[in-house]
Symmetry: C2
DNA sequence: CTGAAAGCGCTTACAG
DNA sequence: CTGAAAGCGCTTACAG
């Protein structure tokens, strides 16, 4: 065997005594190839450690067998600390891609970069998965550009009306409502909300609206004095909690738009000598791994990241194949721990999990509408 | 503009009134191109939203501008739970790749899969970054195969003598010793070790050896009754702690080979009614985010994942360019929290950090040997 | 400074 | 069932 670089299909052809076209067919399992021929070719290929050059085959077929995951982060967030919620999404997406035989390209983009043309246009990926918490108003126009170019993409985030492209997200309204109802059922009445309740953060806004709706159901009104904006970081949570406390209004519970916010709030409360849950009860959102280690352990709204990853990948793959797909909302689950005080449910396991019906959308497998 | 698919360089050439070769040169910033010509080409390209087809250019140049990150996990680990330590490595590697202008392909491989030919051979990546905790004996032969094929790769893990390829890793001996010395300084004498102390897990073995060396320095001997094997999961940690306790030998401290093991041990101890740190002190390893949220917060040995990511990527990139590189050991830091009891150091901040000198290797920037 | 031409390694109609 | 040939979209000597 010559000690040249990687062998190509012509090398295999010579050694197997067939044409290069036949090598290609044999390797791809083309049905017309004679069985004996195919086996000869495969044997030679294996012996030479031959693999098909992806650049060449992709160029020829005009597809890449690769998906790109683009993660946008709030620029204010510390570079090295990706939101833990995304880790679990990433793990799930990676595995599903592998199962489907696709490679995954990943990139942590800044909103400022000119990403829209990056991957699919240059044929490095067949489609894009967008993940992130940037200001929705800022990047909505980017989504429109992607749609206009015919780029295939799915996005994790709030599922809104009249949205460019396909979004898959949790039912944030149901999740926010569940957290608030849980607190109401435990007798809390002065319930605040920590997190951006604005158009720029539609997921948080929906959680806020769910929270407010639950209060209304109970004949209460969401008190603006008990709400403070926060992005999804511990520090922002701490500052938001301090802001609410400084306003002096009575508060006996805080629904937080994320676990990181809740952890920050927990620290702020404890620093003030307030007891959680005795003085102020707390709920988080996402159920990141840390939630079970805080003291008290955090009651949180869990999103099914495993299923989310599957839906994102499979939806995108179908879109790449030309199918028209629809947005999907996933039902969240309330995970009850100790940060809200005694639950009425008998605490048999360390955490009690309640599945919530999705709000307005069917959460079932492959749900479309 | 015709509504055909993506424009190619010939389309640009026609519209700019130049040859296709000139378009290619202009786009790549070739110095010989006339300034006015280049600007005309760039203007047309921008207008048509043209991007170079990577498959074509990679095929032509025989390189990909892409690195592949292969993560191996212990097959016994739950699929959805990647070791949190790897998350932070992953974040760091991703960012460095982006900074260096490289794309990153990621894959969570099972050891069983035939990965060695996967990425570089088929020209999807110029080099491989290997990350993982599989059994070292099992995959050492794979590393040898990679070396034999001339594949460019770097690996995160124990830096051993006579190792195939280039490894970059923490100074585990120094880390294990630091944890044990800290406990010794606090008056503990019956110090155990939780984690695989075998050739199959060289990082854990080195930590164990550091621990044993520190005991020897203090005139003590590592008691086999106080050691139990564990892979890096909470459950394994719990079981290992239970095993040690069941043996009935007196124990007043446990050095754990990872934070997950320590968290499991913490739960096992507390379930038995033992107080941490009063009855048994505990140290972890890796300083994952959860370590600061346990009660008591976990004293741990921190690895500089940011720097590790930089070194992995930059070393690999140099290897791709033909440079010969050497292994690197990174100095770890002891992060003191509450799980070992009162520290002699005045606890000014919530955590006291001590940088340790690397053991036997220079930890300095770009260190080689 | 620019163009014509070769060629990277495949896949896939088109013949036979 | 198999081969000869075209062509995917680039980059880069080679001329001029």
């Amino acid at each position: 065997m010559p000690i040249k670089g990687k062998p190509n299909s012509l090398d295999i052809a010579h050694l197997a005594g067939v044409s290069q076209a036949t090598v290609s067919r044999a390797l791809r399992g083309h049905p017309a190839v004679n069985r004996a021929t195919r086996e000869r070719v495969l044997a030679v290929a294996r012996q030479l450690n031959y693999t098909v050059d992806k650049n060449a085959s992709n160029l020829r077929t005009q597809q890449s067998g690769t998906l790109a995951l683009l993660l946008f982060e709030d620029p204010t967030v510390d570079d090295s600390n990706i939101n833990p919620f995304f880790h679990s999404m990433l793990g799930s997406i990676t595995r599903v891609c592998a199962q489907r035989g696709y490679d995954l390209l990943i990139s942590f983009q800044q909103l400022s970069r000119d990403w829209h043309a990056d991957y699919e246009d240059c044929h490095k990926a067949d489609g894009l998965i967008l993940l992130g918490y940037g200001d929705y108003r800022e990047y909505r126009s980017r989504l429109e550009a992607l749609v206009a170019q015919g780029t295939h993409f799915v996005r994790w985030g709030a599922v809104l009306e009249d949205q460019p492209g396909i979004s898959i997200g949790g039912d944030n309204h149901a999740g926010g409502a569940a957290a608030a109802r849980h607190l109401l059922a435990l007798g809390r009445r002065r319930i605040g909300f920590l997190g951006h309740a604005s158009q720029g953060a539609p997921e948080f806004l929906e959680r806020y609206q769910g929270y407010a709706a639950a209060l209304r159901e109970a004949g209460l009104v969401a008190d603006p004095l008990l709400q403070a904006d926060a992005i999804s970081t511990e520090q922002a949570g701490r500052e938001a909690a301090e802001l609410v406390l400084e306003r002096g209004a009575r508060v006996d519970a805080l629904v937080c738009a994320s676990d990181l916010i809740a952890i920050g709030a927990l620290r702020a409360l404890q620093a003030r000598g307030l007891r959680v849950p005795d003085d102020v009860a707390l709920t988080g959102y996402d159920d990141i791994p840390m939630a079970q280690f805080t003291t008290p352990a955090l009651t949180s709204v869990q999103q099914d990241t495993k299923r989310a990853g599957e839906l994102l990948v499979d939806t995108l793959l179908k879109m790449v194949q030309g199918e028209a797909m629809a947005p999907i909302k996933l039902a969240p689950q309330l995970v009850v721990r100790q940060s809200c005080g005694v639950s009425q449910a008998p605490a048999r396991s360390p955490a009690t999990v309640t599945t919530l019906p999705a709000h307005g959308r069917r959460p079932s497998r492959g749900a479309r509408h």
